[in-house]
C-alpha cells in the first residue's frame, strides 16, 4: 500500500445560494481506500480543524443503492468504466493529481448542499406508470407464465439500473432518456407489462418532460457514464413504444395515462 498526496477542488454550496470551488489539500491518502473513504478522511480532518465537512450522498458503498453521485474530473462517478463513486478506489489515481469534485448538474436535480442533489424527479417518473397494476395476493402460480430466458435476461439487463442519475449528469441536455427507457423497457418487454404498455410509456415520458429534463440527441454519453452499463438500445425501444402509443392515442385507442391519481 502506498500513500497519495492529492489536491482537491470541491464544489461547496448551501441550497440555492451560489456555490464555488474550494481548494482542499488531501495528503497521505492510502491507495487501497475507496473514493468515499478518501472523502471521509478529508472530512475528519476538516472537522478537527473546526471547518464545515463536505456533504455528499452515500449509503450502501457497494455500488447498488444508487445514492452516491459526484462528478469526478468532469465525469459522473469518475474515470472507471461501469463503476459507481463508492466502488472507485484511490489506486486509480497518482500522487500529485488534482481532482475536481462536483455535484451531478441538471436543473431537474437541484443542489441541496455541496455534492448532494435532489433526485426525487426520478421517483415521480416511476409513479407515473413504472409498475404493473397487480394487487397483492391476486396472481397465478409463477410458472404458469413461461418467459423465455432471452426475454427474461434482456429485462434483467434493463432492471439493473440503480437510478443514480449519472446518465442525466453526463448528458449535455440533461436528458433522462436512458433512465426512463430502462425502467419502462424492463416492463414493456415482459408479458406482465403488456396490458399497460401504452399508458406506462406515455405517462413516464410526459412526467420526464414535466420535470424539466432535456431532449435526447443520440450522443450516448449516458451509456458511457452508466455505472451499470445500461445500453442505449433501450432508448430506441422507448422511442418505438412512444411512437406506437402516441399514434394509438391520437386515434383514441389508449386509456387515460397513468399517474396523478386518475
Amino acid at each position: 500500500m502506498s500513500l497519495l498526496n492529492l489536491h482537491l477542488k470541491v464544489w461547496r454550496q448551501n441550497g440555492s445560494q451560489p456555490g464555488h470551488f474550494q481548494d482542499i489539500e488531501a495528503p497521505e491518502i492510502p491507495d487501497h481506500a475507496s473514493f468515499l473513504e478518501m472523502m471521509d478522511i478529508v472530512n475528519e480532518r476538516l472537522i478537527s480543524k473546526g471547518e464545515d465537512p463536505v456533504a455528499f450522498d452515500h449509503d450502501c458503498r457497494e455500488g447498488i443503492c444508487g445514492m452516491c453521485s459526484m462528478q469526478i474530473n468532469g465525469v459522473p462517478h469518475g474515470p472507471e468504466k461501469a463503476t459507481t463513486t463508492c466502488q472507485l478506489h484511490m489506486r486509480k489515481f497518482r500522487t500529485g493529481d488534482t481532482i475536481w469534485i462536483e455535484p451531478f448538474r441538471a436543473s431537474a436535480f437541484p443542489i441541496l448542499k455541496d455534492l448532494m442533489v435532489d433526485r426525487t424527479a426520478f421517483d415521480r417518473i416511476q409513479q407515473a406508470g413504472g409498475f404493473v397494476t397487480v394487487r397483492t395476493g391476486a396472481p397465478q402460480d409463477a410458472n404458469a407464465l413461461p418467459i423465455g430466458k432471452e426475454v427474461a435476461d434482456a429485462a434483467m439487463d434493463a432492471a439493473e439500473c440503480i437510478g443514480c442519475g449519472a446518465c442525466v449528469a453526463a448528458c449535455k441536455n440533461a436528458s433522462a432518456m436512458l433512465f426512463v427507457s430502462a425502467k419502462a423497457g424492463q416492463l414493456n418487454s415482459l408479458p406482465q407489462g403488456q396490458p399497460e404498455k401504452d399508458r406506462r410509456t406515455l405517462g413516464m415520458v410526459r412526467q420526464m418532460d414535466k420535470e424539466g429534463f432535456g431532449n435526447c440527441t443520440n450522443q450516448y454519453e449516458c451509456e458511457a457514464a452508466c455505472p451499470k452499463g445500461i445500453s442505449v438500445r433501450w432508448i430506441t425501444k422507448l422511442n418505438r413504444d412512444y411512437a406506437i402509443a402516441s399514434v394509438k392515442e391520437a386515434f383514441g385507442n389508449t386509456p387515460k395515462v397513468a399517474g396523478g391519481g386518475d
Binding site: 450502501c60 444508487g66 423465455g148
Partner: protein, 638 residues
C-alpha cells in the same frame, strides 16, 4: 411481565389458516379512516405500505434515504427461498420450515416459522406478477440454486442482485399506491422517537434531513420496518445509514428487545484492508455453490502465491469437517471455521485474516463463461475492491457482521408488547432463531409485509377509534421538545473527537468482545468499557454545523448515541446466555470438537429485555420456546 405470543391453537400446519379465519375484518369504508405509519421502505416496509394501501388504509411511509428504492434490502445478492418444489427434489413447506428451525439452532418460534414457509410460495407468484426478472431456464420456467443449510434447490434469484430486483418490485407496488393517493411518501426523513399515548404506539417524531425541521406524525398504528443493528460493530456489510435508532427509541418507550446477542457473521466477505475502512463488502454465499474454501495446511505456505501451493498441501476444511454439506455448511459454522483456521496461523492475505474461495475447479468443469454468467457481477466487484481477478486467483474472504436475528419482541400478529407497535422484517426477532439461513431474509421481509401484517393489523385496529389521537396531544409536544433538546445538546458539546472516531472505537470493542466468539470475561470487560465510552462521547464529541439545515454529522451523532446505549444491552444479553447457539458462540460452551453446545434445559427461551431507565439493569422477561413439530436435536451438518 408475562408475554403472550398469541400463537393460534391447533396443529402446526393449520395454525395460519385458522388464524386468518379468526382474524378480525374491518369494512372497506372504515379502513379509510385509519392511518398507519410505516417507518422504513425496504422489503418489509415497502411491501407493507403498498399492500395496506391497496386494502384501503391511509398510509404514511418514511425513509431516511432520498428515495424509497435505496433501502438496504437493495443490496441483498443471492436469492430468496420458497418451497415451490419446482425442481422435484423433495422440497415442501414442511421441509423449509424444518430447515429454518434447525438452521436457527432451535431458538425460533415454530408457529412463525411455519407461517413463513407457507407464504413463501405466494411471494414468488407475487413478484413474478410485478415483473421481477428472476433467472429462468430456456423453457421459460424459473431457475433455482442451492444455498447453505439446505439439501434442496429452492432459492430463486435474479443474477447477483435479487434484493435489488425484489425491492424494485415492492417499490413499484409502492409507487402505484403513491400515484393513487393511498400512500404519502416522506423521503429524507429520519425517525427520532416513538410517541405512546396511554401505553399505545400512536405516532412518531421525525427530523427532515434537508430542512432540519423536527415534526410529529400521528397514526392509529405504527409499523417499524427499520432493519437490523449490525452497524453497532461499525464495520459490517450494512449500508452506512443502517441504525438502531427506531427500534432502540421504541425500546426506551417500553417495547421489549429480544435476543440482541443473536448476530450473524457472514462467512464470505472481502477482508479488511486498513483502518480507514468504512464498511465491508459481502460476496454472496451463492458463490459457495461453485467455490471451494481452503487454507494452506502448513503455516509457512501462507505467504506463497496460491497457485504455488500443491493440491496435497491445501486444507479444504469445510469439506473435511462437514462432508455432507461441505462448502455449503451454514453461515455460523462456516464463519467460525474460518476464524479457527486463521487463529491457527493459516490465514492468508494482509494481516493473516483471510481464507481462499477457489473457483479453479468450477471454471475447468463449466468454463469461465458459465461462471461469469452466474457470478460475473460479484467477480467484477471483487476486482474493483481488491485489484485481483478471481478468474485467475482464488478470492480471499473473511467473515463479517451481516445480519441481526435479534430485534423487538413481537407476538404472532407481529405486534410488540406495546399495543399498536408492529415490527416487521429484520427489525423483529421472531423467525430466524439464533442463526438465519441464506436467502431467508428477503423471504421474511416480504412475507411480513405482503402477507402477514395485512391480515393481522386488523386485530389491533378493530378495537381502536380511528383518528382519535392527533399531534395536538401533549405527548407529541413533549416528544418534539425532547428531540429538539437532544439536537441542541449535540451541537453544544463542541468537543474534540468526531462522531466516526467514537463509532469506530465502539465497533472495535464490540467486535472484539462480542463478535464471533464471546467469553464471560470479555463481555464483562466490554460492559465496563461501554458506559465509559458513552460518557466520553457525551463530553467530547464534536458535531459541527447547525440543526436547521442538512447536517450529516448531526444525523450520525444521533445514531451513534443510540448504538452506545444498545451495545450495553447486546453484551448483557450475550453474557446472560450461558450456552452457545447459532450466531451466539460462547467459548466456555463448546463440544470437544469445537461445535456450539446448546443448553436446552436452561435457555430454551427468547430473552425479551425491558427498559428500566437504568441501562445496566434491564429486566429480563422470558418467552419459553416449545417444539411440537421439530424435535430438539444437536444441529449436525456432518
Amino acid at each position: 411481565m408475562s408475554l403472550n405470543s398469541n400463537i393460534p391453537s391447533g396443529p402446526m400446519a393449520m395454525k395460519w389458516s385458522k388464524h386468518k379465519q379468526d382474524s378480525k375484518l374491518i369494512n372497506p369504508k372504515n379502513k379509510r379512516k385509519f392511518t398507519v405509519l410505516v417507518v422504513g421502505s425496504g422489503l418489509a416496509g415497502s411491501s407493507a405500505a403498498a399492500t395496506l394501501s391497496e386494502l384501503g388504509y391511509k398510509v404514511k411511509c418514511f425513509c431516511f434515504q432520498d428515495s424509497a428504492r435505496r433501502a438496504h434490502s437493495i443490496a441483498a445478492q443471492g436469492g430468496i427461498n420458497a418451497a415451490k418444489n419446482y425442481q422435484n427434489d423433495g422440497d415442501s413447506v414442511h421441509r423449509l420450515f424444518y430447515d429454518t428451525v434447525k438452521g436457527g439452532d432451535f431458538r425460533a418460534r415454530e408457529a412463525n416459522v411455519h407461517r413463513l414457509a407457507e407464504v413463501s410460495v405466494n411471494i414468488i407468484d407475487q413478484c413474478v406478477a410485478q415483473g421481477v426478472p428472476f433467472a429462468r431456464e430456456y423453457g421459460g420456467m424459473l431457475a433455482n440454486r442451492s444455498f447453505g443449510g439446505a439439501q434442496v434447490s429452492r432459492t430463486f434469484y435474479a443474477r447477483g442482485q435479487t434484493g435489488q430486483q425484489l425491492l424494485l418490485g415492492a417499490y413499484s407496488a409502492l409507487n402505484k399506491e403513491i400515484a393513487s393517493g393511498g400512500v404519502q411518501m416522506y423521503t429524507r426523513m429520519e425517525m427520532l422517537d416513538l410517541v405512546t399515548v396511554d401505553g399505545h404506539a400512536k405516532g412518531i417524531i421525525t427530523r427532515n434531513l434537508v430542512t432540519g425541521k423536527i415534526e410529529a406524525h400521528a397514526g392509529d398504528a405504527v409499523l417499524l420496518c427499520t432493519g437490523g443493528y449490525g452497524n453497532v460493530f461499525y464495520l459490517s456489510t450494512n449500508a452506512m445509514g443502517c441504525n438502531v435508532t427506531a427500534t432502540w427509541r421504541a425500546h426506551r418507550k417500553g417495547a421489549f428487545f429480544a435476543n440482541p446477542c443473536y448476530t450473524q457473521i457472514h462467512p464470505t466477505c472481502i477482508p479488511v484492508s486498513g483502518d480507514y475502512q468504512s464498511k465491508l463488502t459481502l460476496m454472496s454465499e451463492s458463490l459457495r455453490n461453485d467455490g471451494r474454501v481452503w487454507v494452506p495446511k502448513k503455516k509457512e505456505d501462507c505467504g506463497k502465491a496460491p497457485d504455488q501451493i500443491p493440491e496435497a498441501d491445501r486444507d479444504y476444511y469445510l469439506e473435511r469437517k462437514y462432508p455432507s454439506f461441505g462448502n455449503l455448511a451454514p453461515r455460523d459454522i462456516s464463519s467460525r471455521a474460518a476464524k479457527e483456521a486463521c487463529d491457527d496461523g493459516r490465514g492468508v492475505g494482509p494481516g493473516g485474516r483471510g481464507v481462499y474461495l477457489d473457483f479453479a475447479e468450477a471454471i475447468q468443469q463449466f468454463g469461465a463463461k458459465t461462471i461469469a454468467e452466474r457470478y460475473g457481477n460479484l467477480f467484477e466487484m471483487y476486482e474493483r475492491i481488491t485489484g485481483e481477478s478471481a478468474y485467475k486467483r482464488p478470492m480471499r474472504i473473511y467473515p463479517a457482521v451481516h445480519y441481526t436475528m435479534g430485534g423487538l419482541w413481537v407476538d404472532y400478529n407481529l405486534m410488540s408488547n406495546l399495543p399498536g407497535l408492529h415490527v416487521l422484517g429484520e427489525a423483529n426477532f421472531s423467525d430466524h432463531g439464533a442463526n438465519r439461513l441464506g436467502a431467508s431474509a428477503l423471504m421474511q421481509g416480504l412475507a411480513d409485509g405482503y402477507f402477514v401484517i395485512p391480515t393481522t393489523i386488523a386485530n389491533y385496529l378493530v378495537g381502536q377509534k380511528p383518528g382519535s389521537i392527533t399531534t395536538d396531544h401533549p405527548e407529541f409536544k413533549k416528544a418534539v421538545e425532547a428531540c429538539t433538546a437532544q439536537t441542541k445538546k449535540f451541537l453544544n458539546i463542541n468537543g474534540k473527537r468526531s462522531v466516526d472516531s467514537f463509532h469506530r472505537e465502539l465497533g472495535l470493542l464490540v467486535w472484539d468482545k462480542c463478535g464471533m466468539a464471546r467469553t464471560r470475561e470479555g463481555l464483562t470487560e466490554a460492559l465496563k468499557r461501554i458506559p465509559e465510552l458513552r460518557e466520553e462521547f457525551w463530553q467530547n464529541v464534536k458535531v459541527p454545523g447547525s440543526g436547521d439545515f442538512t447536517n450529516p454529522e448531526l444525523e450520525k451523532a444521533g445514531r451513534v448515541a443510540d448504538f452506545m446505549e444498545f451495545a450495553e444491552l447486546l453484551c448483557l444479553d450475550a453474557r446472560h446466555r450461558e450456552e452457545s447457539c447459532g450466531g451466539h458462540f460462547r467459548s466456555e460452551y463448546q463440544t470437544e470438537d469445537g461445535e456450539a453446545k446448546r443448553d436446552d434445559e436452561n435457555f430454551s427461551y427468547a430473552a425479551a429485555w425491558e427498559y428500566t431507565g437504568n441501562l445496566s439493569q434491564p429486566t429480563l422477561n422470558k418467552e419459553p420456546l416449545t417444539f411440537e413439530e421439530v424435535h430438539l436435536a444437536v444441529r449436525s451438518y456432518k
